[in-house]
C-alpha cells in the first residue's frame, strides 16, 4: 500500500440520516449503539459511494456534527441465518419454506437518531494501482458532488439509509467522551476475517482514528471466522 505524500488535502464527506445504529460488539443481541459512528461503518459508507480495487480508504477522523440523541425500538426478527445448505435444499425441493413465525426472535435496539457526521479520509493505493492517487480523489469528489453511489449508503445497519453531501463548515459538537474499545477495521484478506480494534475517545466532537488497530491475539483460525 502506498502512503500519500505529505500535504495532500484529505477527502471529506458529510453524511446524515434520521436513524443510525453502530452496534457495540458486546451488546449485539440486544443492540446498543456506540454514541458515534465507527470507522468500519464509515469505510463501508464510503465504499458504497465509490469503490475501486486499486485503493482502500484510511479513515482519519470522524467529526460529530449534531448532538447525540437516542431512540429505542423493539422489533420482531428471526433467529436463523440463511445457510448455503438450506438454499440448496430449497432449490431442489419447492415445498421447503422458511417459517418466520416458528423462528421468531424479538430484539431490542438502542440506536441514534438525527445524526450527522463529517468523515475525513484519505486513500491508500494498492500495489497493483498504476494511476496517480489524485485521479481517485477527484473521482470521489465528483461522485459526492453529483450524489452518485454504487449502493445506498447506510448508517451502521442497512435499514438506516444515509444522505451524503460535500463537506460544509458546520462545527463539531463540544462533547467529549471515552468510548472504550471500538472496531477499527475488518481484514478480509485471509481465509477468514480478522478484526482490528482501537481505544476510541471523542474529544470535542472529533474521533481520531489511528492508522492501525490492534489485531485480536491468538491465531486467526482460533479467534476469527465467518465468510471463509
Amino acid at each position: 500500500m502506498t502512503t500519500p505524500p505529505a500535504g495532500t488535502p484529505p477527502l471529506a464527506v458529510e453524511v446524515e440520516g434520521p436513524f443510525a445504529c453502530f452496534t457495540r460488539p458486546e451488546f449485539k443481541t440486544e443492540r446498543l449503539s456506540y454514541p458515534v459512528m465507527t470507522p468500519s461503518a464509515a469505510k463501508g459508507l464510503l465504499e458504497a459511494i465509490f469503490w475501486k480495487p486499486e485503493f482502500t480508504y484510511r479513515i482519519e477522523r470522524i467529526e460529530v456534527l449534531k448532538p447525540v440523541q437516542w431512540f429505542s425500538v423493539r422489533r420482531n426478527e428471526v433467529d436463523q441465518t440463511t445457510s448455503g445448505d438450506w438454499v440448496r435444499r430449497a432449490m431442489t425441493d419447492p415445498a421447503t419454506r422458511f417459517d418466520a413465525e416458528a423462528n421468531r426472535d424479538q430484539r431490542h435496539m438502542k440506536g441514534l437518531r438525527d445524526v450527522a457526521y463529517r468523515i475525513v479520509t484519505d486513500i491508500r493505493l494498492n500495489p497493483h494501482a498504476d494511476a496517480h492517487p489524485a485521479k481517485y480523489r477527484d473521482q470521489f469528489r465528483r461522485r459526492v458532488e453529483r450524489g452518485a453511489c454504487f449502493s445506498q449508503p447506510f448508517l451502521g445497519t442497512r435499514e438506516f439509509s444515509a444522505a451524503f453531501a460535500k463537506p460544509g463548515d458546520r462545527a463539531p459538537i463540544s462533547d467529549s467522551e471515552d468510548l472504550g474499545v471500538m472496531l477499527h477495521s475488518i481484514d478480509y484478506s485471509g481465509k477468514r476475517e480478522t478484526y482490528r480494534w482501537f481505544h476510541a475517545s471523542m474529544v470535542e466532537g472529533v474521533v481520531h482514528v489511528p492508522e492501525q488497530g490492534a489485531e485480536l491475539p491468538g491465531s486467526p483460525a482460533a479467534r476469527t471466522g465467518g465468510r471463509g
Binding site: 443481541t29 433467529d79 474499545v181
Partner: protein, 600 residues
C-alpha cells in the same frame, strides 16, 4: 464502557463474593466430623441433615457459594454446595430415568470433590469430606420431610470453617469454571479491559432472577452478554466467539452488577426496568437519592457540593470521578441495556441541580418553592382518589415508562417526553385537580419544552406575565376562589361541594373563551352577594376580588384565547395553580398579622 466500569468497581464493593461465587439461600447442611462420619443422626441411627431454616430465615441462610450458569442435558455440578440431587443423589421422582440421572449428577459431584481434595493437599476438612463421600456415607442420609431435590445443601466439617469458602476451594472452583467457560476461546486481548488474558466462551454468571423487573412479574436469570442463535452472532457464530471477554471482566462485571442491584442505595426499580448507578471513586453524596426522594437535606448537600470552591484542584481531578448509571430491562433471559450514562461527577451534579431549578414550585401550604421526588412526579400521572388522609394516587395507574422517562430527563437535562405532558393534561382534566406534584411536572415540561431562556415560568407567581393563557389560568383561579367565598356557609365556613374547577377545568384550559366568558358574567352575582351580605369582611373581599379581576383583564391584550394547545394549556394550568398558591400565601400573611407584599 458498561462492562469495564462494572469490573473496575469490584475493589470498592466491600462484601463482594469471591470470583464465581454468589450469595445463595442454603436450606440444609450435611455436617461431618474429621473422620467423615455424619454428626447428626436420627432415632433410627441414620445420618440426618441440619435444617438451616428458622423463624427469621424461613428458606434457610444466605451463604456465598460456588455458582456458575449451567444448562444442557447434563448440567455439571457446583463445588461442595449444590442441590440435594447432586449432593445425596435425591432423585426428582421415582422413575428409573430420574434415579439414573441423580446418580450421574452425584458421581460428577464427587469427581469435583476429588479434584478439590487433590489441590487442597493435607487440608483436614478436605480429607474428611472426601472420606465421607468416597465411602458412600452420603447415600445413607435420611431425607427430611418436605425436602425437595432442588433444595440447596452445604457440607460442613465439625470444628472447621465452611470448606467451600477455603482458599483451596476457591482456587479449585475458579479452575473448574475456567475449564468450563473458556475451553474453546483460548487467551487473547479482552475487549473490555484490553489485557491479554484467558477469554470466555460464555459469561459464567447471569444477573439473578428478580433483580430486573419484567412485565410478567416472573423474572428469570438473565445474561448480560448473550449470543445464542445464529442470527445474533456475526457470520452465524454463537456465544462469545467474536466478543473477546476475559474471565476477570466477565465474572467481575456480573458479580458487581448483582451486588449493586441488590443494594437499595444503588438501584431504583421501575415497572418496566431498573436503574443502577455508582461512582467511579465512591464518595458520600446522595446524588440519586435526591432525585428519588427530594429530601431537603439531600438537596442542600448536592447544591453545597456543587458550590464548593474548587481552588487548588486541577481540572483533571474534578473530571476524574465519574458517575455511571445503567437502565436495564430483560427480554426473556437476556439483559437489555436501555440507557447508559457515563459523565463526570461535576456534570451529574449540574444536571441534578438543573432538574430542581426547572421544576421546583411554591406549594399552596408553604411560602418557599419545594421540589418533588421523581416517584411522586411519575405517580401523579396516574389516577387518584380522595381518602381520609387526603388525596392519594393509585399505584400502577401511571404509564409504565413514566419513572424511566422522568429519570432520563433528569440525568440528560432533556425535556420530559411530549406523550407524558399530553397524559398529564388528560389526567388533570379527568380529575379536575392540579396539585403540587402536577404543577411541578407542568413547570418542568413547559420550561424545558416550550420556554426560551427569558420566558421560563418562575417557581412563584409571575404577576407581570402577560401571555393570555397564563392570565386566563390566573383569572379562572380567581373566579373559583370568588365562587367559593360567595357561596360558603358563614356559620361553618364551608363552601360548595364542587366548584367551577371541579366541573369545567378541563374544558376551560382547552377553550378558555367559550367557558370563561359565561363564568365572568356569573361572577357579578357572586360579587353582589358579597357586597350585600352585610358583613364588613365580605365587603372588603368583594373589593379585592373586583380589583384583581380588573387587573387581570388589564394584562390581556385582547379577548381570552379561543383554543389552547399543549403549550397554552400548560401555561393556563400553571397560572391557575400559582394564583391559588399566591392567594394562600397572602391569606397566611394576613392571618399572621403581618400583611406582606407580594414577593414574586
Amino acid at each position: 464502557m458498561l462492562l469495564k466500569a462494572l469490573a473496575d468497581h469490584a475493589p470498592h464493593m466491600a462484601d463482594l463474593p469471591p470470583t464465581n461465587y454468589r450469595p445463595r439461600t442454603v436450606r440444609w447442611c450435611l455436617t461431618i466430623d474429621t473422620d467423615g462420619e455424619p454428626v447428626l443422626r436420627g432415632a433410627d441411627g441414620r445420618p440426618q441433615l441440619n435444617d438451616l431454616a428458622d423463624a427469621e430465615h424461613r428458606n434457610g441462610i444466605v451463604l456465598n457459594a460456588p455458582y456458575v450458569y449451567r444448562s444442557g442435558a447434563k448440567p455439571p455440578p457446583m463445588l461442595l454446595v449444590d442441590t440435594l440431587e447432586y449432593v445425596v443423589a435425591a432423585a426428582k421422582n421415582t422413575t428409573p430415568k430420574a434415579q439414573e440421572e441423580a446418580l450421574r449428577r452425584n458421581d460428577a459431584y464427587i469427581d469435583l470433590l476429588r479434584a478439590w481434595a487433590r489441590d487442597a493437599g493435607d487440608d483436614p476438612a478436605a480429607r474428611a469430606v472426601l472420606a465421607c463421600f468416597d465411602q458412600g456415607r452420603h447415600r445413607t442420609v435420611a431425607l427430611p420431610d418436605g425436602a425437595k431435590p432442588s433444595d440447596v445443601v452445604a457440607v460442613s466439617v465439625h470444628g472447621h470453617d465452611w470448606p467451600h469458602l477455603g482458599a483451596a476451594a476457591q482456587e479449585a472452583w475458579r479452575a473448574t469454571v475456567t475449564a468450563r467457560k473458556s475451553g474453546r476461546a483460548g487467551s487473547g486481548r479482552c475487549l473490555s479491559c484490553g489485557h491479554e488474558r484467558p477469554l470466555l466462551d460464555s459469561l459464567p454468571e447471569p444477573v439473578k432472577a428478580g433483580l430486573i423487573p419484567v412485565a410478567t412479574g416472573r423474572g428469570r436469570d438473565a445474561q448480560l452478554v448473550s449470543v445464542n442463535t445464529s442470527a445474533q452472532g456475526r457470520g452465524g457464530r454463537i456465544q462469545l466467539a467474536d466478543i473477546p471477554l476475559c474471565e476477570e471482566c466477565g465474572a467481575r462485571s456480573t458479580a458487581v452488577l448483582n451486588a449493586l442491584l441488590a443494594e437499595r442505595s444503588h438501584r431504583y426499580r421501575m415497572p418496566d426496568s431498573v436503574i443502577v448507578w455508582w461512582l467511579k471513586d465512591p464518595v458520600e453524596l446522595p446524588l440519586m437519592d435526591v432525585l428519588l426522594n427530594a429530601e431537603p437535606q439531600d438537596v442542600a448537600a448536592v447544591f453545597a457540593e456543587l458550590e464548593k470552591p474548587r481552588r487548588g484542584r486541577s481540572a483533571e481531578d474534578i473530571e476524574a470521578n465519574r458517575f455511571y448509571a445503567a437502565t436495564l430491562a430483560a427480554n426473556q433471559s437476556r439483559v437489555v441495556v436501555r440507557e447508559w450514562i457515563d459523565i463526570a461527577l461535576e456534570q451529574a451534579l449540574q444536571r441534578v441541580a438543573a432538574w430542581f431549578r426547572d421544576h421546583e414550585i411554591q406549594p399552596w401550604r408553604s411560602d418557599a418553592p419545594r421540589p418533588v421526588p421523581v416517584w411522586l412526579m411519575a405517580r401523579c400521572l396516574g389516577r387518584g382518589q380522595d381518602t381520609n388522609e387526603g388525596w392519594r394516587y393509585t399505584k400502577d395507574t401511571e404509564p409504565q415508562d413514566a419513572h424511566r422517562r422522568l429519570l432520563g430527563a433528569a440525568l440528560h437535562t432533556t425535556p420530559p417526553p411530549f406523550a407524558l405532558l399530553t397524559h398529564l393534561h388528560q389526567r388533570i382534566g379527568a380529575d379536575g385537580r392540579i396539585d403540587h406534584a402536577r404543577a411541578a411536572l407542568l413547570r418542568l415540561a413547559y420550561n424545558r419544552t416550550f420556554a426560551t431562556e427569558h420566558g421560563k415560568v418562575p417557581p412563584v407567581l409571575d404577576e407581570e406575565r402577560t401571555e393570555s393563557a397564563y392570565v386566563a389560568g390566573r383569572l379562572f383561579a380567581v373566579l373559583e376562589s370568588l365562587q367559593y367565598r360567595a357561596l360558603r356557609n358563614p356559620e361553618t365556613g364551608e363552601g360548595p361541594n364542587s366548584t367551577i374547577a371541579d366541573k369545567m377545568l378541563s374544558a376551560a384550559k382547552a377553550t378558555p373563551r367559550a367557558r370563561m366568558e359565561p363564568l365572568l358574567d356569573k361572577s357579578q352575582a357572586h360579587l353582589r352577594r358579597l357586597r350585600t351580605s352585610g358583613r364588613p369582611k365580605d365587603k372588603g373581599a368583594q373589593t379585592a376580588y373586583f380589583r384583581t379581576i380588573c387587573d387581570l383583564h388589564d394584562l390581556l391584550d385582547g379577548p381570552l384565547p379561543d383554543v389552547l394547545d399543549q403549550e397554552g394549556q400548560s401555561l393556563f394550568s400553571l397560572g391557575y395553580y400559582q394564583q391559588h398558591a399566591h392567594d394562600q400565601r397572602q391569606r397566611r400573611a394576613h392571618a399572621n398579622g403581618s400583611p406582606q407584599e407580594d414577593q414574586s
